[in-house]
């Protein structure tokens, strides 16, 4: 980067070059979904020439396996939005507005857990989930090898971030209205529900978007804590297709991959500014 025209030229050249691998990856994904075969980035027909476009790769939409995987993905994502939403908005409110013994410990704990990466606890969580599965009645829905169990673990893992984010949003709200309501005799729960939550709506939306994407994309936790196809979510289902012992049909795999990116593409088009902001969420407070 110098100044002036050469600087500009090098800036754009560098940036364009830097995104080439990303663009190449997506270009292949899109082309492959409508080709019988690809060589490099080119669609190839049976004779080896360029061509051979087809919609046959998309025939998986008529199979029930993909819809059950999609339903599981959706369940995990929605459960995460609700679970992280409730626990973070209530917990964040308590940490932002209450003075109570242990507050400092909770805040420091939240920050430490936020920085701490929980993937290393998966081995032990495996046992916790198996024990949860032994609980009568609800066990099968929240234990090992259940969509509910996967969702619970995912909610817990995103929680430190959620609480910290929501606390930040509550901190930025003036407490005048809240104080007025409390002087009028409103209880804490009503203040939270009727006065505070509407004011942090942008924060809730950001958190919901973030957790939905995290839930929708989840691979490691569902892969570790589920067996077989019945409880597989989309990423796990896709990985089963790739690691099949039979020769992999890469073009169909690409189509399934693009299919599971549909909600993400929609978010990407309509919530660009928000996305860039929420992925900086980890830095709150620096």
């Amino acid at each position: 980067m110098g100044s002036g025209k050469t600087g500009r030229f090098f800036s754009y050249a560098f940036l364009t070059l830097s995104i080439v691998p990303i663009l190449v990856g997506y270009t292949w994904l899109v082309i492959a979904t409508v080709s019988t075969r690809t060589r490099g980035l080119l669609p190839i027909n049976a004779e080896g020439g360029i061509g051979g476009l087809t919609l046959g790769n998309w025939s998986f939409v008529f199979e029930s396996a993909i819809w059950s995987a999609m339903l599981n993905s959706l369940l995990i994502a929605v459960a995460m939005v609700i679970g992280v939403g409730i626990a973070s908005t209530s917990g964040g409110y308590a940490l932002s507005r209450f003075k109570f013994p242990g507050r400092k410990g909770f805040l420091t704990g939240t920050l430490v857990l936020h920085a701490f990466k929980a993937e290393m606890l998966l081995i032990a969580i495996f046992f916790v989930l198996r024990w949860l599965g032994e609980i009568p009645l609800i066990g099968p829905y929240i234990g090992f090898n259940s969509v509910g169990g996967v969702a619970l673990v995912m909610v817990a893992l995103e929680l430190p971030l959620g609480i910290w984010l929501m606390k930040g949003f509550f901190d930025n709200i003036s407490w005048d209205m809240e104080r007025a309501a409390m002087i009028d005799g409103a209880g804490r729960f009503r203040v939270w529900w009727q006065i505070m939550l509407p004011q942090v709506r942008p924060g809730i939306a950001a958190l919901a978007l973030f957790t939905f994407i995290a839930g929708w994309n989840a691979y490691l936790v569902p892969f570790t804590f589920t067996i077989g196809t019945k409880v597989a979510n989309m990423p796990v289902y896709l990985n089963q297709l790739i690691s099949d012992t039979a020769p992999v049909n890469w073009n169909q795999v690409a189509a399934v991959g693009l299919f599971q990116m549909i909600p993400l593409i929609i978010f990407f088009i309509f919530t660009q500014e928000l996305l860039l902001n929420i992925y900086a969420g980890g830095s709150k407070g620096t």
């Binding site: 560098f14 980035l41 290393m120 032990a124």
Partner: protein, 343 residues
């Protein structure tokens, strides 16, 4: 969890109904002692925190303790029906005398610092500097494209890289790049250049976080400062070195520590791309070893206890780093007392 949550909610609603009822009959508010108010406030605070506390205990505290206990047993899928047998420090001895221990340690250090320096820190900084130096909309566009890898499901993302590095005639790199740049015709991520692919896949996701943080830090530098330096005839390089970099010192340190920890404990992309291969432990890092020992049925046997031993070492490192990092960045100063209680 839902039951506990409900009871907390009910409790709070009862409190509220109580105060509403008193308001309805026009009863004067009972003057409460400061102690009574503090007790009440503490009870409500814990009520609001109940869902979070339940989840943290179940999925952080208990697993943390369990991991320590596990590392002193010999629990595996072969003997999990029997009572747990404690074997002292045998797992730790086995870990440190493992013939592949030096290799895994070297791999981990190499992977963490190469990815950190070249991508999560280096490329992130360059991207932030360059995209804030061109018109706003265009800079935004490039940052948005850079966010794509982070948004993409890991399985799909790795699928793309696998196709980029596949063997001829399918591999994209082999198809379009001259042989001098390493296009051997063979599979690159499981043959020619496994480390390059492991670092690229992680780096392309990792760089965007730093890029976003540095961008907002750079954008908050007062324009006057830069203009004044330009008037004085400072070159772009000097403006970066003497003005911009010193002003974003804290974000730089933040990303460096935060991402070191992230990289140290992350293994999802490596698991999907090479599974630690090709061959024996070529790209296997510490976190992946822990996971594979516990879940990938080595020799037809899931060695949970031995996996836990690998994991507990990382957990200890991660915990110490997390505490240090909270201290270094003086997060405690953000933890001011809330004012709402002083009505």
């Amino acid at each position: 969890m839902t039951e506990k949550q409900l009871s907390a909610t009910e409790q709070l609603m009862e409190q509220e109904a109580d105060s509403l009822a008193r308001a309805a009959i026009g009863a004067p508010k009972q003057p409460r002692s400061s102690l009574g108010r503090r007790v009440r406030s503490t009870v409500s605070a814990y009520g609001f925190l109940l869902p979070a506390i339940a989840l943290v205990i179940t999925f952080f505290i208990i697993p943390g303790i369990l991991l320590i206990i596990l590392s002193f047993t010999n629990l595996s899928s072969a003997n999990f029906t029997e009572p747990w047998e404690f074997i002292g420090f045998a797992n730790f001895e086995r870990l440190f005398t493992d013939p592949f221990f030096p290799k895994i340690l070297r791999n981990t250090v190499f992977y963490v610092f190469t990815t950190l320096i070249f991508f999560n820190l280096g490329l992130a900084l360059v991207l932030a500097l360059v995209t804030t130096n061109i018109p706003r909309r265009r800079g935004f566009f490039f940052r948005l494209v850079w966010l794509l890898p982070r948004l993409t499901p890991s399985v799909v993302y790795i699928l793309m890289w696998k196709r980029i590095g596949s063997a001829d005639p399918f591999g994209i790199y082999n198809q379009f790049m001259p042989e001098v740049l390493g296009a051997s015709g063979g599979n690159l991520f499981l043959g020619g250049a496994p480390w390059a692919f492991v670092i690229l896949t992680n780096g392309f996701v990792g760089a965007s976080f730093g890029m976003i943080i540095f961008t907002s830090a750079l954008m908050s530098i007062p324009e006057d400062l830069i203009t004044a330096a330009k008037v004085d005839g400072a070159s772009t390089w000097r403006i970066i070195r003497d003005i911009k970099l010193p002003l974003i010192k804290w974000p730089l340190l933040f990303i460096a520590t935060y991402q070191t920890l992230s990289l140290l404990t992350s293994f999802e992309y490596i698991l999907l791309l090479t599974e630690g291969g090709p061959g024996l432990f070529t790209t296997e890092v510490w976190a992946l070893t822990a996971y594979k020992r516990a879940f990938s049925s080595y020799f037809g046997n899931s060695q949970w206890a031995f996996g836990a031993t690998w994991a507990i070492v990382l957990v200890a490192v991660a915990l110490v780093m997390a505490v240090l990092y909270v201290k270094i960045f003086k997060f405690n100063e953000l933890v001011e007392e809330p004012r709402i209680e002083n009505l």
